[in-house]
Symmetry: D4
């Protein structure tokens, strides 16, 4: 079974953010592979994982000076999603590191600690060649809307 | 001719950022369509453009409270790229508005004023179903590397 | 009974900020209606609620990339109040999203998590055509002053 | 002729921001009165102007530690709009000073240097008791939409 | 007994910051008077307290849009010390509001939540005409140095 | 002639900020002495100047990591005023360095580039033992008010 | 036994950050000496410790307006490492104070609360003349990589 | 001739910051080598340059998401200096990216655009095994002090 999405975490401590992504992957039936691999502490491992991967989309989850998504993007022309993690400064350091890439090397940054959005964004990309995934995304949104409708119904008793 | 990428600008003043994207699109042979359409000033137009579009990828370019990419994402499950534009506060307001989306609605934010990266990210997504685009991206990177090698050669005379 | 103020919350988790507003509304006898409706997750619902409402004033309470008040303002020329909620970055992302609207679409932003001030601001607007509400606001301030006078009296024993 | 809106500027150097408001007032036929009056340098004058004014809406335009709108709000229960001006730090100091008011004293902050939005917000408030102003606001928006449509038409030649 | 320093708190919730000042005042034998008086909620009280005070130095302690020290300074030419309090955004809003005064109206801002430093700064000012206070300040510093020397001695066992 | 105020500049490039102070000193008849002396580059000189000075008030003007006012305060118990200078980051680095002193060592920080306010604050301190200076300050304020009144008169023609 | 690294803490409360450094020193066999000595509260002690030290590398650990590393650097031409400590504002004040030194006085700032990185950086410097330390650093990294490999193995069960 | 310091620039546009370093190197007689090599655009080149270099100290100069110094540090245990460059947001993005490294991989960050300080810090490190360089650094500081003394002399005529 080949993973469609390769997820790299800069540190095992980023696991809670990954788990938000995992929940989405499993709900949508997306095949994923995860590795703890740091752009700073195991750089060769990152390069090897990226270059040998058959995945269509890459996700880098990291805090502080979040170089991981940018380093992944440096070694592939496939789409790379960055998830900045709040470790210090409310995650502002990680957001700026993940988003402010130089011209030529794009990273798709989602919001701070937004693992689920990284997974949904990956799904949207994969759906470009796998139309049934687009239908699953539409269902996912429908459920989300229904959840908000239910919340709204509850709110009528506030 | 159907556009592969639909680009919306929140204001005609965002044109210079769009032009960076256009240069990349034209170099890579990607079919694009552009519209000035504001999430705040012409919201119905944004919705209509997004919902009627056959494009595979959407890009929203906007400054200040850059709601445009998030509003596009609210009306499609296709991938949406946000380009925050520096209008006030160095673009920090636009970056936070473009990146800090709520769970469930992903936007792929690139860096402040990074129109070229939005186009490259769109290309990476399109390449998932159009392999020759991946080759063009690889060539693009090769040229970029050669440019840096040339810069490095010049640097030997500094 | 027609609501004078329509309050929209981007998420049910914003309830504590809404409750500060509710306390003020009930004290001043202002008729309100509340809905959970997200600019990103249920955009059509937001538009429908706003366009069908007979309310005189609108309030949008939201965190992160707080597009809600701006999207409300995009669909009405009635006054719209934005309440940024602290979810990440101390609420700076929401404040900038709520306040930094483009020319032409005004949003009246109050401070982070300041639900009570949103309600008081709405009251001040409604008082323009309902003078007795102005008197109630004057009484409210008087009580507030008396509270501070009492605090000051306690302080004399510090 | 009684002014409907009283505009106070913390400094004569804030004139360019006021002029954006004036253009809107004159287009919508709103009667305004303007004074240079500083919360810090001429505090009594501010109090006297506010307390003696018959205006329905107040606007305070100020940079740096922009106390002016909050001080106006301290002396009236009428709606008060704050316009933070970029003088240092990109206007972040003024925005936080204008928006982060304590519970009980609401200020409606618009974006940095957004004089036109202050005027439009004042118009929306005045329209609560003057319905024809609401129609003028609708026309204003229509023109704005047409301007963006024209911009979009031009964009088709980019 | 006439107070040498008049301390105003924008809110009773600022008491912990005041208590740091009180400890210093009592240790140095400085006569103080404290009042809860808000620049926004009881502005006349602030003006009356300041204008009727015989104190030599004023201290304003406030959070959020901390207008209090600036408003005190607007009504006296005596030295005014501002103490920004952390209520939101880590106190950055209060620091900018307290420090970024316009030309002509100086406020002496100390650090966020630094009540003790406000008291020490007041003491340094009062010592200009009361030399024995300068000696007390020198003793205070000596004790502080001794405390650090003791800490350093403990550190030799780390 | 003994200087009443000793002004230290961290760099000759801070001269424009000093000149705002000088104008005030000369208008109020305050005797000043100025030195370029850096906390980082000529630390002994700073210590020597501070310890040998008979001045009643010290002012440190510096940009970047503005250690100068804090270092002055470390060597005197006289009041020390800090003037953060905008050199990078809009002066935010200098403001935080000047204001965020540890407990026990107070610095009176004024706003970014606010040399005139440093001089006025020094004057307010000196006036504690030199009452006629208080009268001069009152006159200074009166002129300032008249200037604003004149500005307001001009504004009636806007 | 002469210390190779002299570590100064601005306050005993910075001990937890120091302990991260101590663990590294002890693991690598680096001789260290620690003192609590404040740039603001015991400035002469700082100068005396620095000028009399035979250490090859200096580390200053401090929060708030973290002048300590810069003041150390002002008194030695040996390499000085700064460790900003999070005390207020998430440590942003300390980071800017530690990093934004003026031209001519370099400080090597590591990240907020990163005591271990300060020790590793000191080790890297000492290794320039003590090659076996370089080997220990290589071993340290190897262990770090093995730790991440083990984490990655665990991740395969997530 | 073997370079003692290897300087990498993320982009040829960082040249002005490099030139500040070069001036210091040439004045102190330090042998340097420079290359334009981007962590994102030519990652293999960075790795190859670092791993094959015999230099004792490395400097990475980069703007935006300044991954370069961290990536250099990931491939060597020699000391690595980071120079954040102001390209967007006043250089705050680059400073946070350069300084906020994870535990285990230290980077010595100097201030924004501070090329000269990077060179001086490298010199201080090299002086650990080359004592005459320490003397040159002492002379450099002496000249710097004399420059400030001369500035101070000029200031006596202000």
């Amino acid at each position: 079974m080949t993973a469609q999405v390769l997820v790299l975490l800069g540190s095992a401590s980023d696991k809670p953010v990954f788990e938000k992504a995992k929940t989405v992957f499993d709900e949508l039936g997306i095949k994923w592979e995860v590795h703890v691999a740091s752009a700073h502490r195991t750089p060769q491992k990152v390069v090897k994982l990226v270059e040998s991967s058959k995945a269509d989309v890459f996700i880098g989850i990291a805090g502080l000076s979040a170089a991981l998504p940018g380093v992944i993007a440096a070694h592939t022309t496939k789409p790379v999603i960055g998830v900045p993690v709040d470790s210090k400064l409310g995650g502002l350091d990680a957001l700026l590191s993940a988003a402010q890439l130089p011209p030529g090397i794009p990273v798709a940054s989602v919001g701070i600690d937004r693992g689920e959005n990284a997974a949904l964004l990956a799904a949207a990309m994969l759906a470009l060649k796998e139309p049934e995934l687009g239908e699953k995304l539409a269902s996912y949104r429908k459920k989300m809307r229904e959840k908000i409708e239910a919340d709204d119904e509850s709110a009528q008793k506030w």
